[in-house]
Symmetry: C2
Subunit: 135 residues, 2 copies
């Protein structure tokens, strides 16, 4: 059976505290900073479990890191993510879901899943960026 440990709870809590998507490493060092002695491997396991149970969303960052987030809904949805500060907006659009499904079956594909994410600069980060242009 599945046991309740303070470690799992700590990961769940810290994940809830995060604004956007975080990496296992990031979550672990955040926990460490706030005094928790939790082990790195445990954080990896807890996050994988949360994702399996549907309590956390996961995606691959553009450079191949696995990122996790506790989203407000457990329904299927997608994300608009600030590549600078991590601010994340949840997106749920039936039209897109239907498009993906139809596109797959149109070409004879089955068991189709899709990866749809938008990365950009949020309004705040855009403002900051315009103050300090690239030299």
């Amino acid at each position: 059976m599945k046991r309740n440990t303070w470690q799992r709870e700590a990961v769940r809590t810290e994940l809830g505290r995060a604004e956007g998507f975080v990496s296992a490493q990031g979550l672990h060092s955040a926990l460490h900073t706030s005094g928790s002695p939790i082990g790195l491997a445990t954080v990896y396991r807890a996050l994988a479990d949360l994702a399996l149970e549907g309590d956390a969303d996961s995606l691959q960052s553009p450079d191949g890191e696995s990122l996790y987030r506790a989203c407000s809904t457990t329904d299927h949805h997608h994300h608009l993510i600030c590549r600078n500060c991590g601010l994340t907006v949840e997106i749920e659009v039936d039209a897109i879901e239907n498009w993906a499904t139809e596109e797959a079956s149109k070409h004879g594909f089955t068991e189709a899943a899709h990866v749809i994410d938008i990365f950009g600069l949020c309004a705040a980060c855009t403002a900051l960026a315009s103050d300090r242009p690239t030299p």
Copy 2:
């Protein structure tokens, strides 16, 4: 300036020979098998260059590997990929592009890029899978 070496050409050729997306490691061992003494680091560099120049598309596999493909068009497009055999179908839909752009600006995001990929089982692999069900 950029020089022409047989190594770059070999990578370009082998990438063209591949049906779908391939990893740097996979391309390297394919080249090795066909007798080429090209180095692994060189394959990584060549693929990165091709992607930079727009001559190759790249994406992250669901488990975080970087995959590359020489697509038939250099225009912006997306992919429908068989997760078993790698067969890839190129998808180009303006409606999706517009949706992504609008969704980003609607929330104040700028410099938005998007990741849109569909993974499934192609018709052939679906047929094979039904012959040998999971025991």
